[in-house]
Amino acid sequence: MNLARLKKKSYPYLFLAPFAILTLLFFVIPAFATIWMSTTNLDRKMKADFIGLGNFRQILADINLLPIIKITLIYVFFSLILTVAFSLLLAICTQYLVKNKRIGALYRVIWLIPSTMPGLVYVVFWKYIFNPTPGGFANKVIMYFGLEQPVSWFNEAGLLIIIVAGVISGASGGMILFSASINSIPEDIYKAARVDGAKDRSIIKDIILPALKWPIMYVTVTSTIGLFASYNFILLATGGGPVFDTTTLALYGYQQAFNRLEYGYGAAISVIVVIISLLLTLLLFRIFDFNKLIRPPRIED
């Protein structure tokens, strides 16, 4: 009897086990290896000597650290706010406001376009559009309207372009999660709200948003983590330049590791990135009152 209960309780874990092992192998071990690496002076010669917190000391002394952290925070903050706001807006518009479900669905499908093409293609085109020479599309346009000098878009507004493009391509995931959650609110609730005199604004604020609390938390947390860790996009678009003006912490770590081939130093930066994003995650959990969100199960046994 007791054995049977044990068996019953444990079998979902058995299901999860092989995946846990794979995760371990593919992701957790590398994570720990990174931590180990951050305490060595591993470089292109691929010889690793333990140097303790040397790398971290060096990072703290790094003259670029402060400006880079500032840029990172700006980048993460605005990307995050915009991604969440934007995917919420899209989801609410297409799932609730646009009453014709067909059009809403169509619009959402259009948002899949960004994912049908390799990201690099876009970057190439943005580079073309925002090419700082007079031959660039945006410059052609503004010069057509009378501006004399071409604008160095990526230099003047590199971070902005990166954020906007990142937000647009990043919003679709959140949008879908939000859409699904909005969709699962029973119609009766909307009906009641409409009868109770609620305008769209109030329905969104009082009915839809509370139902999205959990998805919003999820998107916020994963976006925060993802944004802190990502560099690919910036690397392609501006390479972090000019100077360090669009270099985020993760990109800096990448450059240290893979351009300068200072793996140890790069790993140490990665570790710092992870620590910051974990701290922020905990903070977000607090803000969203995570414990309350995990309701106790109503089926008991």
């Binding site: 609730i189 009641a192 409409r194 009868v195 109770d196 005199g197 109030s202 009915i207 509370p210």
Partner: protein, 364 residues
Amino acid sequence: MIKLEGISKKFGDSTALENVSLDIKRGEFVALLGPSGCGKSTTLMILAGLLQPTSGKVYFDGKIVNHVEPKDRDIGMVFQSYALYPHMTVLDNIAFPLKQRKVKKKERHQKAQEIAAMLQIDQLTDRMPSQLSGGQQQRVAMARALAKDPLFLLLDEPMSNLDARLKVDVRDEIRRLQLKLGITTIIVTHDQEEAMAVADKIAILQNGKIQQYGTPDELFMKPVNLFVAHFMGNPPMNILKCDLLRNGNERILRGDGFDYKLLSTKKLNTEFKGTKVALGARPHHLQISKVQLENSIPAKVVLVEQLGREKLIKVMLGDNENTTNFIRILSPSDLNVSYNERVYLTLDSEAIHIFDEETGKVIT
């Protein structure tokens, strides 16, 4: 005040409402009655503006409101499914309509708390809806509908999960508020006693069509057809198929296993020339006697149910063991009859109804 004009509603192929017209005066309390699936909820939804009629017009105060938003109709509504806001506390649920009216927080919470007290849920205002029992949820829904003192109150089975005592309390409260504020109220209920107790008028629906619309007494005393007669009253009116035999001034109803002579004072619709009729008699209009009386119908007791202060006795007419001619009689508790006992039924000619069996229309 409220007027439905030729309203029909189809869901795909199936027709939920067919050519429904209804006139409701300001401050009236109207009950919609009818069997399950007859279109009661649909009617309310159309009145609320949550469903668009396939055809027909809805007037409020003489103006067509077909395209007026629900929020602009000043309605309080209790949904059959309650439809509480799951992410709000009970208090916020009740106060929500007031919030939409920009009533200040303190004020609306106070009002909500008052109404909650009226419905005996003031202890629960901090809970979430999921932490309430069914009946408690239903009262929250009611409180929410009442909170904003609406012009119209649409109540879809608002007390189906309340016990009898509470139901009377709540009903009285609604009635009181309704009278005080002159709220035009439409209530859907499956409980015709409730309807008769509170409603100024009752509309009886069947298959999406209105069968009769009138005061409770009218419906009860003068049902226009078999359906209404059978539907009103609990236990339902007994209906017996008979042949109407006209013998000079004497008219005899002959059914399977009985003959019953109508009193000469009983008037029948002279347009009716047929013979196939249905005799309707309410269970408490029948008396059971253990001895045979004049013009009484012999029967055999089949089932005795104790209903508290009365007994419900089911009897079989005639001696045919396979008959389907059963009759239910309500009699005082002190009547002692037992299973298979032979009894005699007498009924008052004035209290019976006779219907054209074919069309169902009343002919008395």
